[in-house]
């Protein structure tokens, strides 16, 4: 039974597995964090201007339409191998859903709410932190969820340029025609994606229920 073989392998090579697993998580967390730092402020800056929003969404979208493997390959000549080029590719993957959903979240805020806020003497900063950000939050979390799933799957490809992570087991499994080894990588990746989906879906509902 290849699944039990895979689990046995994980138990026998616990530390090797954990190194790869942690590396995978680290890549996902850093790239998601960087993507959020780029997308959310950009989203807030461009959301009110239809032209700027159009340009930034389409730029991000066309970058994303390049296959992840091609981006990984393209970063290699400039950034070499290892963690850095992998992160760049993953950020490119994670930015578009986050940016798009941030912009949508802000656009969906009722103009009357902003008019009332301004009319009562709230400043730009107060409106941003007390009104716009909380109201756009459910939509932003939807973006985080989509990006997280993209990044978890995408990080498997980092193995090709020496980024490490769970993709190493998948590659080794294919190279050696060792199916249990392949599953050692593939199963946790699938599980991580499902956990991310459930977790962020729950967060999103929690924020949405509050109105």
């Amino acid at each position: 039974m290849i699944v039990t073989d895979a689990i046995t392998w994980i138990l026998d090579n616990h530390s090797a597995f954990m190194v790869a697993f942690n590396r995978h998580m680290l890549m996902c967390a850093i790239s998601l964090g960087l993507a959020a730092l780029i997308s959310i402020p950009t989203g807030f800056m461009v959301a009110r201007s239809p032209r700027a929003a159009f340009v930034s969404v389409n730029t991000a979208g066309s970058l994303r339409s390049i296959p992840s493997l091609a981006i990984l390959a393209a970063t290699m000549p400039f950034l070499g191998i290892g963690l850095l080029p992998s992160l760049v590719a993953l950020v490119v993957l994670a930015v578009p859903p986050l940016l798009l959903n941030t912009i949508l979240g802000i656009r969906e805020i009722d103009p009357a709410v902003l008019n009332a806020a301004k009319g009562m003497g709230m400043g730009r900063r107060e409106i941003l932190w007390q009104i716009e950000l909380p109201l756009a939050m459910p939509s932003i979390i939807t973006g985080v969820r989509t990006s997280a799933i993209q990044v978890i799957g995408g990080a498997a490809l980092a193995s090709f340029i020496g980024g490490g992570g769970l993709g190493d087991f998948v590659n080794a499994g294919i190279a050696l025609m060792n199916m249990p080894r392949l599953l050692v990588g593939a199963l946790p990746i699938a599980l991580l994606a499902i956990v991310a989906e459930v977790l962020f879906g729950w967060l999103e509902r929690r924020f949405t229920q509050k109105r």
């Binding site: 009357a112 709410v113 008019n115 009332a116 301004k118 009562m120």
Partner: protein
């Protein structure tokens, strides 16, 4: 007192004046309703008072201070602002919504909480039930009550209300108009109400400002405007039934005669106006009505003929 001096407003990219050379004085403690066809500049004019719009030329003075020299945020925190769509913050409780301006002003928590309860009471909502609710759990009428309470929170001297009853069903609207008018009178605010509903303008306003194409056509008490429209436009705007509308401004107590010994078939309260009285008389083909006081006792009698001649007596008086 609010004073608009030679106010003009031209929006960028437009070659037409939204407001042109408008002068308007609003006495402290009085209510002015602004009315006119859409695009006449009434909302723009109102929004210049809290600097949501900046006049292209002219000055706005509040208590003799030119508000162009006041920080807009600080100014707006001293002016209540109510809009048709209410604009409650959907993610904040009713309590937190009402406390918006006190929070901006940095009030102490205990003082803010007391004020919120006081205001909920004032607008006829039970604080214990409402405090922790979210806006989506309220009806349209309740939401506008909260919007009104929120505008009153820091006890502003001036209230600006942009079609405050426009999105409310007709039955609730009448009740809210009555209640808000009473409250505004009690707390003696200077109030500007923008409306497109003539009956509302007549009912709520101590004075009515009628606008068209950025110009102020007539600015006077409802009685004076209904009696003497300044021009043909105002006349047609008021409608051919303006004589009947005037009846709504005359209280039955002004026209009633001493009570008769024998009761009539129908009666109205002392607070009713002649419009209501005439409607009853027409509906039931009566010769007159009894006027009853709060305790239900007859205090007067109003014969039909008195209503028919009321217009002329009121004008002469």
């Amino acid at each position: 007192m609010i004073k608009l001096e030679h106010i003009s407003k031209v929006y960028p990219g437009s070659d037409q004046h939204a407001v042109e050379n408008l002068d308007l004085e609003i006495e402290s403690g009085s209510t002015v309703t602004m009315i006119g066809p859409s695009g006449c500049g009434k909302t723009t004019t109102m929004r210049m008072i809290n600097r949501l719009e900046t006049p292209t030329s002219g000055r706005v003075l509040v208590d003799d201070h030119d508000i162009a020299h006041v920080d807009p945020k600080a100014l707006r925190r001293t002016i209540g602002y109510v809009i048709q769509q209410v604009g409650l913050f959907p993610h904040m409780t009713i309590e937190k919504n009402i406390a918006t301006v006190p929070r901006l002003l940095g009030w102490e928590r205990a003082k803010t909480e007391r004020r919120v309860d006081e205001l909920l009471d004032l607008v006829g909502l039970d604080p214990d039930v409402m405090r922790k609710r979210l806006p989506h759990e309220l009806s349209g009428g309740q939401r506008q009550r909260v919007g009104f309470a929120r505008a009153l929170a820091a006890d502003p001297d001036i209230m600006l209300m942009d079609e405050p009853f426009g999105a409310i069903d007709p039955i609730t609207r009448v009740r809210l108009q009555d209640e808000f008018r009473q409250i505004l009178h009690k707390v003696s605010k200077t109030v500007v109400i923008v409306t497109h509903d003539l009956d509302e303008a007549i009912k709520m306003g101590d004075r009515i400002a009628i606008m068209r194409d950025g110009h102020l056509l007539q600015y006077d008490t409802p009685e004076a405007i209904l009696a003497n429209p300044a021009n043909d436009f105002v006349d047609s705007f008021l409608g051919q039934d303006r004589a009947i509308k005037r009846l709504a401004l005359i209280n039955v107590s002004q026209m009633m005669e001493p009570p008769r010994n024998i009761g009539a078939t129908r009666s109205v309260s002392l607070e009713a106006n002649l419009h209501v009285a005439l409607s009853l008389i027409l509906a039931e083909r009566l010769d007159g009505l009894d006027i009853v006081g709060a305790d239900g006792g007859r205090v007067g009698y109003l014969p039909r003929e008195r209503i028919l001649s009321a217009q002329h007596e009121a004008t002469e008086a």
